[in-house]
């Protein structure tokens, strides 16, 4: 399994522990990820305006970069990049006239032909590697660890980008069960964390985060496993604000699902970055003798 890989800006900075755990897990599972030789920011969000073509340039460049290395599929890990690139690729497929205008504007020797398929790492894990194969690689099962999956918005919505059931996704649960953990069902797993409102309305995020964490805890969760770096910032770092605002709020560790996969697969080394989290997950992981 060989893929052209688009990391995006956040995986090289804030969420470098997401990237390092993804790469370690991919190596273990035989997924070859070749980073695009050239890439730029995808713009982080898809422009939903019909008359706003200029914001489609950023994702178009990346899809063209993928086409230039001969990729049929482009593998993306960050859920926001995934959403932006996926929506853009579908737009270019459906609206060739817009693609033509953009190709002209881009002034590149090559035109983007509209054929690259954008896939998410979770999709590759489920559909190409297979959950059973993941289970086979587990050497240190996460027995007894109660984990609530959290999907957020952009993996699942709008419907066209979803590779799982938008209202009732299960892919992270399936992986957690394969790792030997207890997957806690929580209806708020598909509820928005408040997203970019974190910049100018962080008190709202403090509330969203508290609601989501308390809901998971009330169902028995000890930690949350998620996929999106922005959700991670809101659910992990904004707990600081939830603590300030609510004296009865108790923090909860937030991990990327790939960090849990790496732990269960017995991967050692400097890939976890647990010291980067606001809520330190190490006491809980030690309790379960996972570190």
């Amino acid at each position: 399994m060989k893929y052209a890989y688009y990391p995006g800006c956040t995986l090289k900075s804030y969420a470098d522990n997401l990237e390092s755990s993804v790469l370690a897990v991919a190596e273990k599972l035989g997924i070859q990820m070749e980073e695009l030789p050239h890439w730029t920011c995808c713009g982080t969000v898809f422009s939903q305006a019909d008359d706003d073509l200029v914001h489609q340039i950023a994702p178009l460049r990346i899809l063209l970069d993928a086409q230039k290395v001969g990729a049929k599929k482009l593998l993306v890990v960050c859920s926001m990049c995934y959403n932006t690139l996926k929506q853009a690729s579908l737009l270019f497929e459906k609206k060739p006239d817009k693609l033509e205008t953009l190709n002209l504007f881009l002034d590149d020797e090559d035109d983007y032909l509209g054929e690259v398929e954008v896939v998410h790492f979770l999709q590759v894990l489920r559909d190409e590697v297979g959950i059973e194969e993941i289970a086979k690689q587990v050497v240190r099962p996460l027995t007894g660890l109660n984990v609530a999956p959290y999907y957020g918005c952009l993996l699942l919505r709008p419907q066209e980008v979803a590779f799982d059931e938008p209202e009732r996704p299960t892919v992270i649960e399936e992986i957690l069960v394969a790792l030997g953990a207890e997957a806690i069902m929580d209806p708020l797993k598909v509820e928005c964390c408040g997203s970019y409102q974190t910049v100018n309305n962080k008190e709202i995020i403090a509330d969203r985060t508290r609601t989501i964490i308390n809901s998971a805890r009330s169902r028995g969760a000890e930690m949350i496993a998620l996929d999106c770096p922005l959700c991670d910032f809101n659910l992990d770092f904004r707990q600081k604000e939830s603590e300030k605002k609510y004296t009865d709020f108790f923090t909860m560790p937030i991990l990327y699902y790939t960090q849990l996969m790496a732990l269960a697969m017995g991967i050692n080394g400097d890939i976890y970055g647990f010291d980067k989290h606001y809520v330190d997950p190490r006491p809980l992981l030690k309790e379960y003798e996972l570190i």
């Binding site: 800006c9 956040t10 900075s13 804030y14 969420a15 920011c41 713009g43 982080t44 969000v45 422009s47 939903q48 305006a49 019909d50 008359d51 706003d52 914001h55 960050c78 926001m80 918005c153 952009l154 919505r157 709008p158 419907q159 938008p166 209202e167 509820e191 928005c192 408040g194 997203s195 970019y196 409102q197 974190t198 910049v199 100018n200 309305n201 962080k202 709202i204 509330d207 969203r208 770096p229 922005l230 910032f233 770092f237």
Partner: protein, 135 residues
């Protein structure tokens, strides 16, 4: 909420603009309220998403353009996937933001974000916010 309707208002330019930018038919909405029921940001809005649709249908341009609703929207697409009339309400919110931003004003002023906030915020949050809140 007291709004005076006139014939000239109902055929509002604003509603037309919103339809054009969002590519959605505002008049397809039959006010079931499902969008508002699932909106995670509703507590911070003055008009609920379905009320925003109603205001647009009535051509109440001023009320909607001065409301907080589209600025509190987090573009989570929940309303869009649940609407029984297949209206992409998230795109309608985007159109409302753009109509304001295209008058060449910012909703969030990047230079006004305090330094101690900036050093914490990952760029994914900043770029995303500026794409939605600045011109």
């Amino acid at each position: 909420m007291r709004i005076i309707l006139k014939g000239s208002k109902v055929k509002s330019k604003l509603t037309e603009k919103v339809e054009k930018i969002s590519g959605q038919n505002i008049f397809a909405c039959y006010q079931c309220g499902k969008c508002s029921a699932g909106c995670p940001m509703i507590d911070s809005m003055d008009y609920m998403p379905n009320q925003a649709m109603k205001l647009l249908q009535m051509g109440a341009a001023e009320e909607i353009i001065n409301s907080k609703t589209m600025w509190m929207c987090a573009s989570c697409h929940t309303c869009s996937v649940r609407c029984p009339r297949d209206i992409d309400l998230s795109a309608v919110m985007e159109a409302l933001r753009l109509i304001y931003l295209r008058t060449n004003v910012n909703k969030v002023e990047p230079s006004q974000i305090p330094e101690e906030e900036l050093k914490d915020l990952p760029q994914i949050a900043l770029v995303c916010n500026f794409r939605k809140m600045t011109r």
